[in-house]
Symmetry: C2
């Protein structure tokens, strides 16, 4: 047994070496000891050693790893017919209709793409055309994709591309970090910062083409917004002639519970909605949803075509995902299970001095960790993430200081499985950073 | 029968209408009467009426429509395990190694992407970083993808994005359009134009980051280059501190015969190679191949990650495609069949006054059509394309004037099938534009 394990470990080491000399040593791998998964099913991932992990992190397999319905739909269509959309195909139109049915009626047109990056890049391109302006607003800790245009507005990870002269950043307010200020004051300050950024773009001659935001601000650490912030942000952008782009790559397709899309849950009213990660449950598929007027403006003067996007096979994958979310009631489930977990996380927050706040909604949670002085505690977050991985549970961390635990399971997770995640997390927190004697329950 | 046909035609009309109100009326469709394909196999496509077409146009299904080996590989992997590359996976590394084995030894690193657009955008981003410059050279009738960065350098189709201040265009020389000048003169003039474009970028303070070219210049109309042009172009770019990017989206994976990649056939020596269309035979898959030094420079300072790219399923598709090309000897077949077709096209050129030149190599051909005065003849090209579609053969047209017939079948086409294409084409040309009495064979 031990010899077998050693052999498997040696094989992983060799694989890591081969990976380093082909796709390179920079391509990031999760965890101190990289995991080598060979099998997936629902929320479960099995590694090469035969060990099974409960996945409470991955949001691409929204309807479960290796979902059989998605797999069967792709298998059938790819063996039958797959070509670009310059010919008619019923499956493609069916998918477009079924996807658009999850949006409010004024958002009634869709461009298909192959990824969230392509979606955000296209939305910015459309906004430049429609507004006639070039300026962009982005938040001060965000990531919206890997194209050159998106790299020039990336604030949440390292890029060498210079920050664009046509880009201004602003800070998303968080009532959990209000520093004693009241909600109206936080709101006013945050909107004043947006207005200032817009004025700066106008003075520099760029004008405003768009603000690009994730409606739940997940990379930013799932902040708790003051009432009226999103409405105020959208109004300032529209007053300046810009468009509001909701990046639903992380917050979409039922992730936040209650509604299909994050903007519907949080109250942001967008002109363009971009989609990626969960749309094809791992089949490369993204899209941009907008109004007929915006499509008419852009596409009547731009020959936009995307070879792989919205093919019969991509559409088969997308339709199977929509059917799973519908028929298994995953949107409402995310809401119900989310409430249950939030209550548990609130208990942990109340009882554990190093937990500053429980954040998020639906099946997207954050648990903000601090040290004894209340400062961000990325070391503890890292220790907890590694500890849980060693116990067979996958989570991660986010936020400007990497100090917010990120819990974001496939939507097919059950209440019992979520209890295991929270129980293990609670135990890990207590053991990694013991409560003072006499404290807690 | 007639009633059934009418019903099917009415259904297609309804589908077209539904398409127009979802993905929009602008999304281009081929042919005067759009085709509605429901089944594919090898070079054959079958439409909703049950009519079968010989596909001599599509280059995405390089190893044949609905290739069974690719379909089986995707079906097996998607039912087993599919997740991003932040975990180890043997299939991904195997694919990277097998793909890199088709390149010269100094091109030994690969970034996976989801499309040709993502590949070209990433290559430009890398070139900006490595060169420290921002200027770009592009040809005067080209298309390299749909991102905002690529739109700002698009010269071959309509975009509203203003042509970039950091971009200069130059003309690819064509000995078939030398206007009486000799080859050395054509070469000198063409290279002088490149040198001038570089000087202009330098004077404007942009410097040169890259030239981005398709090694066979397919969108430009498959020009016949003067000897030494590609070497001269690369030397000028390198002297200015720029990188050479070979866009293999159209010319790669055996398309040109003789070698795996277009640059290996034409003699262009690139620093970066970008791939798309045929790589996954319709599964969204692209990549950028480069040297270890370039990857080290870019990735050590840029956190580049791409969620869908190079997943276990994408790699399974890519490996199946490589295996098909290898085992069926498609690279050499493209060369052999290409020679045969070129000889036939040369005969057509010799005998038909409205055929100005036969162009291309491997399984990528152009037939340049002119009118009685020798001017480009897009009307005739369109008539021939439509005529062939009505006879059950799919081809298209390209070039700055849309006057070059484009023939670019899946590589699995047979000699007999190619004969049918050329025979039908020859007949169509004679019937559409009869030879003068006494002319021809």
């Amino acid at each position: 047994m031990a010899a077998q394990c050693a052999e498997l470990a040696a094989r992983d080491a060799e694989l890591l070496e081969r990976r380093g000399t082909t796709i390179g040593p920079y391509s990031p791998l999760f965890y101190r000891t990289p995991r080598h998964f060979v099998h997936g099913e629902g929320v479960w991932l099995t590694d090469a050693f035969g060990r099974t992990y409960l996945d409470a992190y991955n949001n691409v397999p929204q309807v479960g790893h290796a979902n059989p319905r998605v797999a069967a739909a792709v298998a059938e269509q790819i063996a039958t017919h797959n070509v670009h959309t310059r010919y008619l195909h019923e499956g493609v139109v069916n998918y477009a209709e079924e996807l658009l049915a999850t949006f409010s009626p004024e958002l009634d047109r869709v461009y298909f793409t192959n990824s969230g990056s392509e979606s955000n890049d296209l939305a910015l391109r459309i906004a430049r055309h429609v507004s006639g302006n070039s300026g962009i607003l982005t938040t001060d800790f965000s990531y919206h994709g890997n194209t050159l245009t998106l790299a020039a507005m990336t604030t949440g990870l390292d890029v060498s591309e210079p920050f664009g002269e046509h880009v201004r950043r602003f800070t998303i307010p968080d009532l959990d970090h209000a520093g004693g200020r009241g909600e109206p004051e936080v709101l006013a300050e945050a909107l004043a910062q947006v207005a200032e950024a817009i004025a700066s773009l106008q003075e520099a001659g760029h004008g405003l083409s768009a603000v690009l935001v994730d409606p739940s601000f997940s990379t930013e650490g799932l902040p708790r917004l003051p009432q009226g912030y999103l409405e105020g942000l959208a109004a300032l952008v529209h007053d300046a002639g810009g468009l509001v782009i909701a990046d639903e790559v992380q917050s979409g397709l039922g992730r936040l519970g209650w509604a299909w899309w994050g903007h519907q849950v949080t109250g942001l009213v967008p002109d363009l909605v971009t989609m990626g990660k969960p749309l094809g449950n791992g089949f490369p598929l993204g899209g941009v949803v907008t109004s007929q007027a915006v499509m008419d403006s852009f596409s009547s003067t731009n020959m936009y075509f995307n070879t792989f996007a919205g093919t019969p096979v991509a559409s088969a994958a997308g339709r199977a995902v929509l059917a799973e979310v519908h028929e298994r009631g995953l949107v409402q489930r995310a809401a119900d299970l989310g409430e249950r977990v939030r209550a548990r996380l609130a208990e942990i927050e109340a009882e554990h001095p190093l937990v500053a706040s429980a954040k998020g909604r639906g099946l997207f949670f954050g648990l903000e960790l601090v040290d004894a002085d209340g400062a961000p505690n990325p070391e503890l977050a890292k220790a907890i993430v590694e500890r849980l991985a060693n116990e067979g549970i996958l989570i991660s961390r986010i936020g400007p200081h990497d100090s917010v635990l990120k819990i974001r399971p496939p939507l097919v997770i059950t209440a019992e499985q979520l209890d295991v995640v929270v129980d293990t997390l609670s135990r890990a927190l207590h053991e990694a950073a013991p409560l003072p004697v006499g404290a807690g329950a």
